[in-house]
Homo-oligomer: 352 residues x 2
């Protein structure tokens, strides 16, 4: 293996100088720098990142930690589970952003709980943590909040001494969705909503209410249907809804997510109801699938790139500010959402 020792010898300098040159220190003469560069190239030298991590007490690695409800599940294990579809979509950007920042992505194998969980991450000298906590009650999440390691959460509104979060403007998104329907003449608007005990679901529910109130429409709590985040449950809930209600008793549905909307569409279709002729449907997220539903789904776009860019940027600034004893910026980032109009929404059917 080629070490800095060999580079130093070839360039006729000490290892200290090689190290300085490598790390862009200004305290290296132009000639020395040049000779070192040449030696590095001719020897094909690459610094040993493990040794660097040891002495710096930090590696160029960011751990990706997902906490589903289930303790045992892993990052990839939720492939195909519709309730997590959006986050998996997000990982694409995560990987790219982290690579662009020249960090590695680590998926830690962690059979640990709470206290030891953090310690095991510390012992890997991860520089930072990107966490997606579907289940904020997980004790590992709480441990993370008290840890020294810079952490950015996505969608869990969790802040700590060394952690912050990024999320979409869920409230405003849901408000836009509902407002869009109101502008199309809808008045009796059902919402199929999930996780109202969590930050995402409750914000979306509030947005729905707000839009109605702003339009001076009554908020009928009977029109709020609780469901799970996945397609199947949304499908079942819609079936129930269709049994309970007369056709013209409502003319539109705001779904809690796109994958839920897909279940809604299926149930409506099965009951012979036409979208948007009989019922308009709006989703949330704007996952790729929206384009291919029948009909293509009007939805609220969450700006995944902006979310991930924001998260990684914050994370890296937290990591690097530690070095310089700056106060790191810990304010959360809220990313704007945007209505994407496709074919699943239309004018309210006129009352007969």
């Amino acid at each position: 293996m080629v070490t800095s020792e060999q580079v130093a010898r070839m360039a006729g300098v000490s290892r200290a100088t090689v190290s300085r040159a490598l790390n862009g220190s200004p305290r290296v003469s132009a000639e020395a720098r040049k000779r070192i560069q040449e030696a590095i190239i001719s020897l094909g030298y690459e610094p040993d990142v493990v040794a660097q991590s040891l002495v710096r007490q930090r590696s160029r690695t960011i751990a990706l930690c997902l906490f589903y409800g289930d303790q045992k599940s892993t990052v990839f294990s939720s492939f195909g589970e519709t309730q997590h579809y959006f986050y998996l979509d997000l990982l694409r950007d995560v990987e790219q952003e982290i690579a662009a920042a020249r960090y590695d992505l680590l998926l830690p194998s962690s059979p640990y709980a709470a206290k030891n969980y953090i310690r095991s991450l510390q012992m890997r000298h991860v520089a930072g943590i990107l966490a997606i906590a579907m289940n904020p009650a997980d004790e590992r999440v709480k441990a993370l909040l008290e840890a020294e390691i810079p952490t950015v959460f996505i969608d869990s509104l969790s802040q700590g001494r060394n952690s912050t979060y990024v999320t979409s403007d869920n409230l405003d998104g849901s408000r836009q969705a509902t407002e869009h329907l109101i502008q199309l003449g809808h008045q009796r608007i059902v919402t199929l909503i999930s996780g109202t005990d969590g930050p995402i679901g409750s914000a979306r529910l509030t947005g729905y209410r707000q839009a109605l109130q702003q339009a001076g429409l009554p908020v009928d709590e009977q029109l709020v249907y609780a469901s799970g985040w996945n397609t199947e449950e949304a499908y079942q809930t819609t079936l129930t809804l269709l049994q309970e209600r007369q056709p013209r008793d409502f003319t539109a549905i705001v779904a809690g997510s796109d994958l839920m909307a897909i279940g809604v569409l299926r149930a409506l279709h099965q009951h012979g109801l036409h979208v948007p002729g009989d019922v308009s449907v709006v989703g949330f997220d704007d996952v790729d699938l929206c384009r291919y539903t029948e009909p293509p789904l009007t939805t609220i776009r969450q700006d995944r790139s902006a979310m991930v860019q924001g998260a990684i940027q914050r994370l890296i600034s937290m990591i690097e500010s530690e070095d310089e004893h700056d106060a790191p910026v810990l304010s959360p980032i809220i990313i704007p959402t945007q209505l994407i109009t496709r074919a699943s929404t239309g004018s309210a059917a006129l009352p007969e």
Copy 2:
């Protein structure tokens, strides 16, 4: 941070003894071992894996390297690209198996090519590499074959001094698929096949031919249609096929993969042809989606768990045999495939 020094002091032994106890050396007295255990627990000690990696010159990390055609693409970037669907499905098992073996999974950010690519992996002291090379011509793949790092490829028939591979019995699978159709009375069987210049595609094509020959049926090369691995291309190719051929000129289609079969089904459906009434269709892979196609797809199952288990097992035995100067087992693993009969195949329509 708690170090082995502190554990040693508390237990009244030297760091060397702590290290031995930790690594299960037999050369530690029962009493010492006990005191060390207690100290570890009471201090909440966790060894520094970075320091361990440095001195052992190896970390407990396995790198996951995917090589798509495109140099720039990353692991997650192929989400939603139908031609890679099977491999993404595979990653679920990869993550679990690696975690079960108590290794971490690293997704290296590698803007390097060839020579430096290997070196950067070496400098991370990865223990082994799991590689999926859709594009075996990638120069990084060649470099990997000559590297010191133990490597297991999935589906690229690449062996080197420190590498081997695992793959399904693609030939036999395709043979089974075709045989199944023959037993149902089909004689004019089209195959829609991809990548016949690669190991997977060519094995599947050979299996198709073999089944026909074994049944004493003629092999009509006109019935072999080349396509891409993705749904869209398979769809287009089937459209072409349907323009070229009379309805009864063929009664069954063997698709190169499930995702291709989905394109085939769509094209047949669009032409008003009934499956399996008019045409029987067989896929390959048995991805989760097969259950939800209309009709549910008869296919050849690749045993993903067995593939991944085999791969990880081989990899770990390669990693660990190095230590003991055993000759590592480098023979490839071929996993049997199995016909799964669902509803897309049926008796051949009788000639009128």
